[in-house]
Symmetry: C2
Subunit: 147 residues, 2 copies
Amino acid sequence: MNCTEVTHLLHAEGKRITGERRVLLRIITDNPHLDAAEIYQLARKEATKLSLSTVYRTVKLLKELGLVQLSDLGKGHHHYELDLKEHYHFICLGCGKVVEIPPISAFQELAEKRGFEIIGAKVQLVGYCTKCCKKRARGTMVRFAML
Amino acid sequence: MNCTEVTHLLHAEGKRITGERRVLLRIITDNPHLDAAEIYQLARKEATKLSLSTVYRTVKLLKELGLVQLSDLGKGHHHYELDLKEHYHFICLGCGKVVEIPPISAFQELAEKRGFEIIGAKVQLVGYCTKCCKKRARGTMVRFAML
DNA sequence: CTCGATGCAAAGTGTTTGCAGTACG
DNA sequence: CGTACTGCAAACACTTTGCATCGAG
């Protein structure tokens, strides 16, 4: 789902394509994991008068149309991701980095066995990235085995 | 990780085991996906004077010790889940039901290949459950193919 | 032109914190 | 008995809403 497609869908839904929306849609389709404040910050560079309300209203609209999904990657507030087709993330507990990982194909069998219909998959692996693994190996012990 | 184990760990960390914490720990270890308000509501049945602050403080404590994980199952606010070892959820877009599904084993290879260390996995499949699939089959068309 | 979209400020949520009193260890 | 924990209320951060105005269709 790219910017143009989203715009077409909005239009098809009878929504108006305003300057603000054009800017917001491009930013949201270009960037995978932004929160409202980050979208606002980027948008203000192009549409200087744009308000935070409009960011929220646009994001809410996209959410209602099923084009965007809320996610909380452990940062305590919402991030927005374009559509819910597939999201495979590895989140590093050491540095907080979020890395995209390739999809895993084992889900469809499960759905068939259970009579579910799977629309999207969201996988979050949590752990330590290569760099933080090394850092931890040399560093002090962690509190518990599980941390 | 059960209630007793969590209590032991708290104690080992030099934390005090108060009446409030006993109640909260039991509720949190017994229930997989509660939010702060729900924990509070349940806890008030046993500890009538317990405050919402204490719920938040306890949950925060558990989070800092790595015993509980925040998650946003698309409801717009935080739910708390005991530890981050493994969480496999199927979320129904029709009725909002959250179903536990069995773990998938394909992650470890990935980690080895990339030099990651995986501590926990959180998988959210999104779609329609058996009941809602049938309902949809008879019902009206949805807005877009993707919804 | 008309009605949906916007900016602004004010109101709502959910969460955190300061402080004085309480009770665990 | 000291100090970590608690309840309460006030502060805070993020999100939503009411209203007058603007502008896409």
